[in-house]
C-alpha cells in the first residue's frame, strides 16, 4: 500500500460520508463513490479507502482490489502539472517512446512518479483521440501535438 501516511481531518471524513450517502451507501455504487472521492482529494490514499469501507460496509481489501484494478484510480497524489504521454498506437509509430524517454530524463522520473516538490508527475495513457497530432502530450488540460524530443525542454519551461 501507499507509504505516505496522512491524517484525515474531520471535514474530510464528513465529505467522504456525504459522498457515500449520496449514493445510498450502496456497495454496488463503489466505483462511482471512488470517482467522486478522487475528484475531491486528487487521489485515493489508504485512509480514504478505510472510511469508505466503514460507510459502505465492504472489506477494505475489496476496495483496495478495485482501486488497484483500474488505472484511472491512483494512490499517490498527482503533480500540480500532471504530464501524460500518449502511448496509443498512432503516437507510438510516430515516435512517442523517444518523447517519453526525454521527459523521463529531464525530470528524473519514472512513469507513475511525482517530483519531490509535487510539481510534475509523469504518466502514460492510451489514445486521447488526437491521433492527427501524434505524438501527443497532455499537461493538465493542455494538449501538445507533434512533439519531438527536442521540444521537451521548452515545454517544461512554460511551467517554471
Amino acid at each position: 500500500m501507499s507509504s505516505i501516511k496522512i491524517e484525515l481531518r474531520q471535514e474530510d471524513i464528513n465529505k467522504i460520508k456525504e459522498i457515500c450517502t449520496s449514493f445510498g451507501n450502496d456497495p454496488r455504487e463503489l466505483i462511482n463513490v471512488l470517482h467522486k472521492c478522487q475528484e475531491h482529494f486528487g487521489y485515493l490514499p489508504a485512509e480514504v479507502q478505510e472510511v469508505i469501507s466503514d460507510e459502505l460496509e465492504v472489506p477494505v481489501a475489496k476496495i483496495y482490489g478495485v482501486v488497484t484494478f483500474y488505472s484511472f484510480f491512483t494512490m499517490t497524489p498527482r503533480g500540480k502539472h500532471p504530464i501524460s504521454i500518449c502511448m496509443g498506437t498512432a503516437c507510438y509509430v510516430r515516435g512517442a517512446e523517444t518523447v517519453l524517454e526525454e521527459f523521463r530524463k529531464e525530470l528524473g522520473l519514472q512513469v507513475g512518479q511525482t517530483t519531490e516538490d509535487g510539481k510534475f508527475s509523469l504518466s502514460s495513457l492510451r489514445c486521447v483521440g488526437a491521433c492527427g497530432l501524434a505524438p501527443v502530450v497532455m499537461i493538465g488540460d493542455k494538449t501538445y501535438g507533434r512533439v519531438a524530443p527536442d521540444d521537451v525542454r521548452n515545454i517544461l519551461k512554460e511551467y517554471e
Binding site: 484511472f72 503516437c91 507510438y92 509509430v93 495513457l125 488526437a130 491521433c131 492527427g132 501527443v136 494538449t143
Partner: protein, 597 residues
Amino acid sequence: MAKERIQIMVCGGTGCTGDQGEALLDNLKLELEANALENSVNVVKTGCMGLCSMGPNIKILPDNIIYTGVRPDDAREIVSEHIMKGRRIERLLFTDPGSGEKLATEKELSPHRKQLRIALRNCGIIDPESIDDAIAHDAYEALATALTNMKPLDVIKLIKDSGLRGRGGGGFPTGIKWEIAFNNKSDVKYVVCNADEGDPGAFMDRSILEGDPHAVLEAMAICGYAIEAAKGLIYIRAEYPLAVSRLNTAIRQAREYGLLGTNIMGSDFSFDIEIKYGAGAFVCGEETALIHSMEGDRGEPTVKPPFPAVSGFREKPTIVNNVETYACISPIILKGSEWFSSIGTEKSKGTKVFALAGKINNVGLIEVPMGTTLREVINEIGGGIRNGKKFKAAQTGGPSGGCLTEKHLDTPIDFDNLIAAGSMMGSGGLIVMDEDDCMVSVAKFFLEFTVEESCGKCSPCRIGNKRMHELLEHITKGKGVPADLERLKNMCHVIKDTSLCGLGQSSPNPVLSTLENFREEYEAHVTVKKCPAGKCKDLMEYFIIAANCVGCTACARVCPVGAISGERKEPHVINPEICIKCGACMEKCKFDAIIIQ
C-alpha cells in the same frame, strides 16, 4: 430552425481543439461581435469532422466551404472577407496533395470521396449540444416510427433482415441478439451501450458520442422498445470528459422533450438512460467484465454462457451493443433493411468507421462501405504514405488484431476476410506503417499493452504474455536465438487455446501475424542481430562512408560523448564502443555520409 442563417461550424474534435481550436472559436465570436454580426451568424462547435491531420477545420454554411489549418489569427480575415464580402479565402482551402488542386466543399475533398456516412451522418454537421438541431436532422423520427407503426418483433425482424453485425469487434448479428433478449421474459431488462473504447489508437465511438449523442440515445430507446426494457445504461470511460458532458446534456434535453422518461411521445413505452463510468481498464470492454464493473466490482470476465442477453446486469437479460452499432439503427428503421443490406459485402452489410492513423497523409475518421479495399483506403482516402515512403503494413483490430501487408492491399475489408488474413475487424483502429517500422517492435508494443491490461485471472494470459514480452525484449536487444521463434509460436497457440476471454484469446495475434508475414525480419534479429528497419537501437551501428565524408568536423563537434575522431578535411570514423546511438551526427551531416547499419 433558422436554416438560412450563416453558420460557422468549428470542429470540436480532440485533434482540432488541442491545436488551438478553442482560441479560434473565441476569436471568431469576438470578430463577429466587433462587427455587430453576432446575431446573424452562428458559431457552432461540432463533433469531429474527420479531417484530423489538416486541422483545425471550420465549415461555413450554407456555402458549404471548408477551411483547413485555420489559426486563431485567421478569424479576422474569415469574418471580414468571407462572411462580410462573400469572398473565398483561397489560402485556407485544402490543397490536394496529389493534384495540387484547391478543394473547397465537402464533396470535393478527396478524403471524403469514397466515403459513405451512415453512423457518422450528423458528425461535424450538427451542433451536438442542441436537440433542435438534431431533430432538424431527423433525430427521433425512427423512434416515433417504431412506437407508432411497429411492434417489438417488427423492429427485431427489420434489424435481422438488414444484416447488421456488431461493430464492437465480434461482429455478432445484432437482430439475433435482440431476439434472444426479447424471448427471455423478465420484469426487468437492460439496454447497455458499450462506450469503453479500449483499443489504443481508436477514437470512433468517442467521436460519435461527441458529435451526435442523440443518435445513440434514440437507438437505445428503440432497442428498449424492441426487447421490452425500460432502463438503459451507457458505460463510458471517465477519460472522455467531453463525450460525458455532451451525453449528459443530450439526456437532459431528451427528457425535457419527452423523448426519454415515462410514456414517451404519449405511448405507453417508458425508457430512461443512466451513465456509468469506467475507470481505465481495457478488459472492461469485454461484455461480462463490463457488467461486473457496472456492478461496482473488479472488471474481470466470467465464462459465457450465460450470455448477457440471458443473464447480464444484476442477473437480468441485458443487451450490450457498441456505440457505432447503435448509431446504425435509426437509418435502418427509416430507410429499410433492403437499403442497408444493399451496401457492403455478402456477409458484412453496411459501412464501417475507421480511425485512420499512423504514417499516412490524411489522418482522420472515415466511414466506408464494407468491402472497400485497403488500397482504396490508403491511397485514395488516406492520400498515400507520408513523405513518399513505402507502405509496409496496416494493423487492424488493435492489440487483438494482426497486420495486413502488400498482398492484402486488394482484399475487400469485411469481418470474414480480415479473419482469414489473420487479423480482425476489431473496433476500427487502422494504423498504417511504413518501411521505417520494425515489426518485431510493433508486436512487442502490443504485447506490452496486453501485459498491462490482462486482468490476471487466468495464468496463460497473465504469465504467458509476460514471458512472450520478455522474449521479444531479448530479441530486440540482440540477445535472441533462432529457437526463440518456435518458442514464441508455441506460446501463442497455448495462450490462444487456454485463455478465458477474448483478451487472452486474441493477445497473441500481433505476434502470430508478424511472424507469419515478416519472418525474415525476425530472423535478421536473431541470426545476424540486425534490425532491417533500423529501429532497434541495440542492433544499430552508426557508420561513416569515407567516400562521402569531406572532413567538415560537424559530426565530431555535435557528438555528445566524443565518439567521432578524424583530422580536418579527412574522412572521420565513429568508435562503436563509445557511441550511444543518439543519432545527432547523422542529423548534422550535410553530405549523407553517415548511415545506420
